[in-house]
């Protein structure tokens, strides 16, 4: 087998080599092994490589010197192959060295049979393959690493994909945790998000009711990673920052089991995780911010709209707190008592017209209210300026926010909010500022409108309740109803007056528009009609003069009115309508009918007829005439003639009712349901003979007692029960005493005129003097007389002009009539 050595011996005799030495010192190991594995021969090279003594090998089974893997290979592969092929070449086999380490080899094995002895021996040539095997192993490791990284990249790509589809910041936790486990075999992955305003990191995700937080001054790796904006590792934990646009939004901490080394390429991947997740987070934040802004804008728009629907400031305050809960807070309180605080002089009163006082000025919605608000807090809020909201600790430990409600550079109240909002927060300051400014303006506008309305109402009431003629031959009853859902009063009016000793004029009119302007125009028109009517020129002439009048009063143009004059001696009725719904006439024993004659256009009209016409007819006693404004007969979704039919039916059904209750019932009936959207005036004139009392009393206290007897007797004759009589007589007595005491101031030449009329169950009592009223000193005694009158009668109107008229009315209870 070593035949090629011969020429070498020939040509290079420099080395003295024996075959023995060649065998022992060959550059490879030789082993001769018996078929049962017993080592029969071994060369020095193999012993050098493995560190065994020759004696340790010889006579022992070669399998004992394999590694476990080598032994398995020998038995499962090598043995069978040799048996079949007789030789195996280039197989990798691992020997165990004497020191326990591994020797990687490549082995050629040849089975030599001795045909004579039928014995066999395995000749094993062993080449040291340490370098090659380590190279192979390295290759394998590289491949595995590459595969591992591929897995990681796949995991991270999945993470990125999942992050891209989230729309809430907390949803980012699950993809990152999955990536931590699958890509890095982290034992725990925790996401910490940085608070948008405060230097605090808070654990995010399903960590239970209380999420742990750390401040940025914490020495732990999480806070350090935020500061460094770089991966920080400490004690088996690697913290990577969530970064977007160079800003740190939070960190992710990966925990690893002991002994796990984190390679540089893993750190690089973690950094990538932080960047990818940070960008996803930033996108979510932007999305959330956009959504939040959109919601806030919509909320403010809705707030403004909804507040405008409510009419009064108190209604608006109530609606405001209802709108704020639960979207903005669990609890909301509006306090409008601010202006009543110490320096009330500088701030406007919150509800100048509020009749109910404090209770109305504080409204709240939500549990546990109202919170007490003291003047100190009010002062703080007023002085807060732009430093809002002002935090507030509640009485029961709750915390809240206080905001000033502002309008026209004044703080008009306080808004208190507590409890987490249902809508996505937190709310930025500019949103809260816009909210309180909008709410404050709505409340203030309502208050101003209420003031205007109150002024207009006072104006209108003063015009509507003034002197009403009292004459035994007729009665007038009126109803005025302001629109239910309107802020401003309208310009509807009615009036009744005597135009001569034997003539009464009635008018109902409707000025275009609303508010103070309409109310004051109404007052002027009303006075003008009165003055013109007293000139006794007839209805058509009155309208002609009114046309001239509205030429100088723009607000009066297009006013409609119905005017009628009734001659009390003859019953002659003359009437004219200027663009106004027709009067409704009820004659005794007939059905009601509308008076469609005497019609022409509204006052000052250019489009309609200004040829003023009038009509006349004679009324029998017992007749009734109704004048009204269109609010009474107009109903949404109904034709005007249907309304007129309803009115005629309503009158017919109550033809015998006393006219005071007649007007009430008709307006109640007509406005029920869908009605009441406009102001309504109704005036009923009854041409009949009602029981009437009249006497003139000399202004002496001693004459009051006989007057009382006289009045009491008349009331008794009218079947007014005794229980009612005493109060009426007492009220009359007080009014007369007032007239004597304050009107005439004891001047006995004065005369007090007392008139009483009874229509159905309504007693009308008028006490008039012509004295010069001198305001009495306000005393409790003086107040008592008025208080008695006010409490004894249902209505008390004191009208001071030339002299004083006291008009009192009482609906009699338990009368037989």
């Amino acid at each position: 087998m070593v035949n090629p050595l011969e020429p070498v011996e020939t040509f290079i005799p420099l080395l003295e080599e024996s075959a023995e030495d060649l065998y022992e010192r060959a550059p490879c190991g030789y082993l001769s092994v018996l078929p049962d594995g017993t080592v029969a021969r071994v060369n020095q090279t193999f012993l050098d490589w493995t560190g065994y003594q020759r004696a340790e090998l010889l006579g022992h089974r070669v399998q004992n010197f394999y590694t476990i893997g080598g032994r398995i290979f020998h038995e499962t592969h090598l043995g069978p192959l040799l048996h079949m092929q007789g030789e195996v070449r280039g197989v990798a086999l691992e020997f165990r060295r004497a020191d326990g380490s591994r020797l990687d080899t490549l082995v050629n094995v040849v089975l030599r049979r001795n045909p004579d002895t039928a014995s066999a021996v395995l000749r094993m040539t062993v080449f040291d393959a340490t370098d090659r095997r380590s190279y192979e192993r390295e290759l394998l490791g590289e491949r595995r690493r590459a595969e591992r990284n591929e897995d990681r990249i796949r995991v991270l790509q999945e993470m990125v994909a999942r992050c891209a589809s989230i729309d809430r910041a907390e949803d980012i936790v699950a993809p990152i945790a999955t990536a931590g486990t699958e890509a890095f075999e982290a034992t725990d992955t925790v996401v910490w998000l940085l608070h948008p305003q405060q230097p605090v990191l808070t654990v995010t995700g399903p960590t239970g009711p209380v999420s742990p937080s750390v401040g940025l001054d914490d020495p732990g790796p999480e806070a350090r990673a935020v500061h460094a904006a770089e991966v920080v590792s400490a004690d088996g934990r690697v913290v990577t920052p969530l970064v977007a646009d160079g800003r740190v939004l939070g960190v992710v901490s990966f925990d690893f089991s002991a002994g796990r080394r984190v390679a540089a390429d893993e750190v690089e991947l973690m950094r990538t995780v932080g960047r990818q997740a940070g960008q996803a987070l930033e996108r979510v934040r932007l999305h959330e911010e956009t959504t939040r802004r959109a919601w806030q804008t919509a909320f403010l728009a809705r707030l403004g709209r909804d507040l405008d629907e409510a009419v009064g400031s108190a209604d608006r305050a109530r609606r405001l707190v209802c709108l704020l809960v639960p979207d903005i807070a669990q609890y909301a309180q509006v306090d409008l008592t601010l202006a009543q605080a110490t320096d009330g002089a500088t701030a406007p009163p919150p509800f100048a017209t509020s009749a109910t006082g404090y209770a109305d000025d504080v409204v709240s919605q939500g549990p546990g209210g109202p919170w007490p608000i003291d003047d100190g807090l009010r002062a703080t809020v007023r002085a807060a300026g732009e430093n809002i909201p002002v935090p507030l600790a509640g009485p029961d430990g709750r915390s809240g926010l206080v905001l000033p409600l502002r309008a026209r550079n004044a703080v008009i109240g306080i808004l208190l909010l507590a409890g987490s909002p249902a809508a996505p927060g937190p709310f930025p300051q500019d949103f809260l500022l816009a909210l309180v400014d909008r709410a404050g303006l709505a409340l203030e506008n309502a208050r101003l409108a209420e003031q205007d309305r109150e002024v207009a109402r006072i104006l209108q009431r003063s015009l509507l309740v003034s002197e009403r003629p009292t004459d035994p031959r007729f009665h007038v009853a009126t109803v005025y109803r302001p629109a239910e859902d309107r802020l401003e009063v309208g310009g509807d009016w009615y009036d009744a007056f005597t135009t001569s000793a034997d003539s009464v004029g009635v008018v109902v009119g409707d000025v275009v528009g609303r508010g103070i302007r309409a109310a004051s125009a109404m007052g002027q028109l009303r006075s003008a009609v009165r003055a013109l009517a007293k000139a006794r020129c007839g209805p058509a002439a009155v309208l002609r003069h009114m046309d001239d009048f509205v030429a100088t009063l723009e607000a009066g143009r297009m006013t409609t009115l119905a005017y009628a004059e009734l001659a009390l001696d003859t019953g002659l009725l003359r009437y004219a309508c200027a663009g106004h719904p027709p009067p409704l006439l009820l004659l005794p024993d007939t059905t009601p009918r509308y008076l469609w004659d005497g019609r022409s256009g509204p006052l000052g009209t250019h489009a309609a007829s200004r040829a003023r016409r009038e009509a006349e007819l004679t009324l029998p006693r017992g007749s009734r005439l109704l004048l009204y404004t269109d609010g009474l007969v107009e109903r949404r979704g109904e034709r005007i003639d249907q309304g007129l039919d309803r009115l005629a039916e309503a009158l017919d059904a109550r033809r015998t009712a006393p006219i005071a209750s007649l007007t009430q019932e008709i307006s109640d009936g007509m406005l029920a349901g869908e009605g009441g959207h406009d102001d309504t005036c109704l005036l009923a004139l009854a041409f009949d003979d009602a029981p009437r009392f009249h006497t003139d009393v000399p202004a002496r206290m001693s004459r009051i007692s006989p007057l009382r007897t006289e009045l009491n007797d008349w009331l008794a004759a009218c079947q007014v029960p005794e229980t009612e009589r005493y109060g009426i007589v007492l009220a009359c007595s007080e009014a007369v005493a007032n007239a004597i005491e304050h009107g005439y101031q004891g001047d006995p030449s004065g005369v007090v005129s007392v008139t009483a009329a009874l229509d159905g169950g309504l007693l009308d009592l008028r006490v008039s003097d012509t004295g010069r009223w001198r305001a009495p000193q306000a005393t409790v005694h003086r107040g008592r007389g008025l208080a008695l009158m006010g409490r004894l009668m249902d209505d008390l109107v004191i009208d001071r002009g030339t002299g004083t008229n006291v008009l009192m009315r009482r609906q009699l209870r338990g009368t037989t009539r």
């Binding site: 007692s705 005493y726 007080e734 008592r784 008695l788």
Partner: protein
């Protein structure tokens, strides 16, 4: 002049002032003066309005003055106005102090001499 509307007598150590008829703007000041001049110091004073048929705001003022005057004299005062009567109605309407009111003279005297 002593008005026939006022009578005063002593009973159980108290002064009983009885007013009669109408007490109004025409005579209230007179009634007040008469009562104050005719009623001497007593352990208690009863102003009995049982006989009063009419009482107006001047009458109320008169009562006010009388109660104040007697209290100044350290004399406890009660006003008798029968329940359900017109005068009682007026007193209730104006919010006269219920503590000062009694339904009958006997009740008033019992209260004052207790």
């Amino acid at each position: 002049m002593t008005d026939e509307r006022v009578t005063v007598h002593g009973e159980r150590g108290c002064a009983v002032v009885r007013l009669h008829g109408e007490v109004d703007h025409g005579n209230a000041e007179l009634v007040e003066r008469d009562v104050l001049t005719t009623t001497r110091a007593a352990a208690g004073v009863v102003i009995d309005l049982t006989g009063v048929t009419f009482l107006d705001s001047a009458g109320l003022r008169c009562l006010d003055q009388l109660v104040t005057a007697f209290r100044t004299r350290q004399a406890p005062v009660l006003v008798v106005a029968p329940d359900g009567g017109a005068v009682r109605g007026t007193l209730d309407l104006i919010g006269f102090l219920p503590d000062l009111l009694a339904g009958t003279l006997d009740e008033a005297l019992a209260e004052l001499t207790r």
